[in-house]
């Protein structure tokens, strides 16, 4: 099975086509820096102001038309256990009591609407998208339900409708994207009685947050959580306690999630480009090696054959020579004997006849 030039060019074309189709990935894997859509919105959560009243949870439930929970929102006993977002609760408030410390700290958690969301980067059908308002939105008409977004999210936010057998959705805060588009505030921000939540363009929120830190340096840590975490998040947080103590991971780093997968994605064109050439080359080499060894074998065989032939010929010739010699000798001997016999006969029958006659008779005898 040799490779014709046409076949080879065909494969090259196929490889080039594949690279062209997958080209988007290389671009996605490049070192571009994305600082968020200009003017995109976010929310500043000042945990020092939060009193854990759960009004935001209630508003969220109402605005997003989620099923009412069994325990009413007024019941603050739920704060005794740590909770996470669920498919029917886009936001939850948790209370953190540090031993011996004066006051509990309340922290609201919901989707942080990352500038470069891990979930959107992980989604293999683009069901999750970062839109220009700053919200990360979900399209259930595309979702396959693989839950890779939940694996990818560093904040463990997306939840899944596990009890829906055929049309389960991934559920998470939308930053009230429909309301924002109408020029309204997100439900939770609107409902907060203590202004622990401030909605606005992210750049402005960061300035505001830094101002608060500078003004009340004893009240706040010198850090805005979400300014750089995971490449920056739409929701940003202020706290007076180390963030690790209030249930927020401080080891996430400042790179967006997509930067962790850009390496492997960049390897795709390399493999797609290199492998066909390399493997065809290996095939050609092994094929050629086989061919050469076969040729060498044939040559060796024919050489041995030729040598053997010559030897045989020489032997045959020698044999022939001796054979002919022996044969001649035998013939001569026979002739001689016959002549002698004939001569004896003639002598016995016609002792007086002439020499000429005897020659004639001996010639006719046979």
């Amino acid at each position: 099975m040799g490779i014709s030039r046409r076949q080879f060019l065909g494969w090259l074309g196929a490889a080039a086509g594949t690279s062209a189709v997958l080209g988007e990935k290389t671009e996605a894997a490049s070192n571009k820096v994305f600082k968020g859509y200009p003017g995109s919105f976010g929310v500043l959560h000042d945990t020092t102001r939060c009193i854990g009243c759960r009004k935001c949870e209630e508003a969220c439930n109402r605005v997003n038309e989620l099923p009412l929970p069994k325990i009413p929102f007024e019941d603050l006993a739920v704060l005794n256990t740590k909770r996470r977002t669920q498919s029917d609760a886009y936001t939850v408030v948790n209370r953190f009591i540090n031993n011996g410390n004066m006051q509990p700290v309340f922290v609201k958690s919901q989707c942080n609407h990352c500038l470069e969301p891990a979930c959107a980067s992980a989604c293999f059908v683009k069901a999750l998208k970062k839109v220009s308002t700053g919200a990360v939105v979900y399209d259930s008409s595309l979702c396959v339900g693989c839950r890779y977004c939940m694996i990818a999210c560093p904040f463990n936010i997306p939840a899944y409708e596990y009890n829906n057998p055929l049309t389960p959705r991934v559920m998470k805060c939308t930053m009230c994207h429909p309301l924002i588009e109408k020029g309204l505030l997100p439900g939770c921000v609107e409902a907060c009685p203590k202004e622990a939540l401030t909605f606005g363009p992210r750049e402005k929120l960061l300035k505001e947050a830094w101002q608060r830190i500078e003004k009340y340096s004893d009240r706040y840590l010198d850090h805005i959580y979400g300014e750089h975490e995971m490449g920056g998040t739409g929701w940003v947080y202020l706290s007076g306690r180390p963030f690790a103590d209030i249930g927020m991971r401080d080891d996430l780093g400042i790179q967006p999630a997509s930067s962790y997968t850009s390496g492997p994605l960049a390897a795709v064109p390399v493999v797609v480009g290199l492998w066909p050439v390399l493997l065809t080359g290996i095939y050609a080499i092994s094929k050629r090696k086989d061919k050469i060894s076969e040729e060498e074998r044939i040559e060796a065989v024919s050489r041995t054959k030729a040598n053997a032939n010559e030897e045989m010929k020489a032997k045959l010739a020698a044999l022939k020579d001796t054979m002919t010699k022996e044969k001649e000798a035998a013939i001569n001997l026979e002739v001689k004997r016959a002549l002698e016999d004939a001569a004896k006969k003639i002598k016995a029958e016609q002792p007086e006849s002439a020499k000429d006659e005897s020659v004639n008779i001996s010639g006719e005898e046979k």
């Binding site: 339900g145 055929l166 492997p264 390897a267 492998w275």
Partner: protein, 390 residues
């Protein structure tokens, strides 16, 4: 003819058949529950642990253990090791069944299985490694189907189309190696997006390389392991060539596996050095990691080496079994054990009975189909009409 008498004498209630039917019935019951009550009823999955053994075992292990297809066909057709030719068909068959079952299992795991073609045909999320995995698995399953089909076509007596497909062998093999390289490595890369969730000993920038290299010796070991099982149960289906070559296959593949596993252990050590994760080795996680790396990679590698030197077929087979378990252990560690390692034990995942039943169900279907095919089609022997082909 001996086959027919064997069939006639044998009762249908063999131990294999009884166990297989129990598992299949249990699997069908869970299937009904899955598609009527949802994942919440049949699995222990939750919002913190969205992936369980249907991904960790059925997908990750299934794909890794089906790597024998690309490894064997590459050895035979690309690297020209023709003496392994009789191993190609069984390897391609198990790879094809393996991938088909991976896709079957995914139907249970994903929310809307009928949308599985979406990433390929409807909306391409090209920034996702899962997209790459999905596309490659889809294409590779098609390639494996074509690569397997000559056996079925010979059985059905469709000569023309069979000869046409056999002519595609080299192209399909190269295509298969490219696709396997991509998705075997990308299965590891899936977890690279979550450095905050996977334990540092298992998280590495080399995760793709680890998965790809381990898929190679996983494939080699599976070919040896399956070969030993096939010898026990389908010996009468093997022709002279197969029987003559099988020892050579086991020893040759064992030798290759030994080298690759040494390389694997080496690359793993480089990975630890680069991230300077040595101090983790003294923790409990470190002990578990060393068990995986030494007990289930370095030791079987040595076993292979000794077995090959002494031409000890039994030891090769044991090494293969331990290597296979090692690969399963590695995939479990990356996707389940060391994933979400920072959660409290109450928040961690452990599979439910129904999840295990479905995983067994899928494997059992594989065995039943495998048996159906090798007892009928020219897999372990050559079809008399095509003996001097390819």
């Amino acid at each position: 003819m001996s086959q027919e008498t064997a069939y006639a004498n044998k009762s249908i209630f063999t131990p294999f058949n009884i166990i297989a039917s129990i598992i299949i019935i249990a699997g069908l019951i869970v299937t009904v529950l899955r598609f009527t009550k949802g994942l919440g009823t049949v699995t222990n999955l939750d919002n913190n642990n969205p992936w369980g053994i249907w991904i960790g075992f059925d997908l990750l292990c299934g794909v890794a253990l089906a790597a024998g297809g690309y490894v064997t066909s590459a050895a035979c057709y690309i690297f020209g090791l023709k003496r392994y030719h009789s191993a190609v068909r069984p390897a391609i068959l198990t790879a094809f069944l393996g991938y088909a079952l991976v896709v079957l299992a995914l139907h249970y795991d994903v929310g809307r299985p009928w949308r599985l073609p979406y990433p390929v045909f409807i909306s391409q999320g090209t920034t996702s490694l899962l997209f790459e995995v999905g596309l490659c698995v889809f294409l590779y399953l098609s390639v494996l189907f074509i690569e397997y089909s000559p056996a079925a076509l010979e059985w059905l007596g469709l000569k023309k189309i069979r000869n046409l497909i056999v002519r595609l062998t080299l192209v399909l093999t190269i295509f298969g190696v490219i696709l396997s390289t991509l998705h075997q490595s990308s299965l590891g890369a899936l977890f690279m997006i979550a450095p905050s969730k996977l334990h540092p000993l298992w998280y590495s920038n080399y995760l793709t390389v680890y998965f790809f290299i381990s898929s190679m010796f996983s494939g080699l070991s599976m070919v040896i392991f399956e070969g030993s099982l096939a010898h026990r149960y389908f010996h009468n289906k093997m022709d002279e060539t197969h029987l003559k070559e099988s020892k050579d296959v086991a020893l040759g593949f064992g030798k290759a596996a030994s080298f690759i596993m040494m390389g694997y252990v080496g690359v793993k050590l480089i990975g630890i050095s680069i991230d300077n994760n040595w101090h983790y080795l003294t923790t409990g996680w470190g002990a578990w990691y060393l068990l995986e790396l030494i007990g289930f990679a370095a030791i079987p590698s040595f076993m292979y080496a000794i077995a090959v030197r002494e031409k000890n077929l039994r030891l090769v087979r044991w090494a293969a079994l331990i290597s296979v378990i090692g690969v399963v252990l590695n995939r479990f560690n990356v996707s389940l054990v060391a994933f979400n390692w920072q959660l409290t034990s109450a928040e961690r995942y452990f599979p439910s009975w129904s999840e295990i039943v479905i995983s067994l169900f899928v494997v059992t279907i594989g065995l039943v189909v495998y048996r159906f095919i090798v007892t009928r089609m020219p897999i372990l022997h050559e079809h008399p009409d095509y003996q001097h082909d390819n």
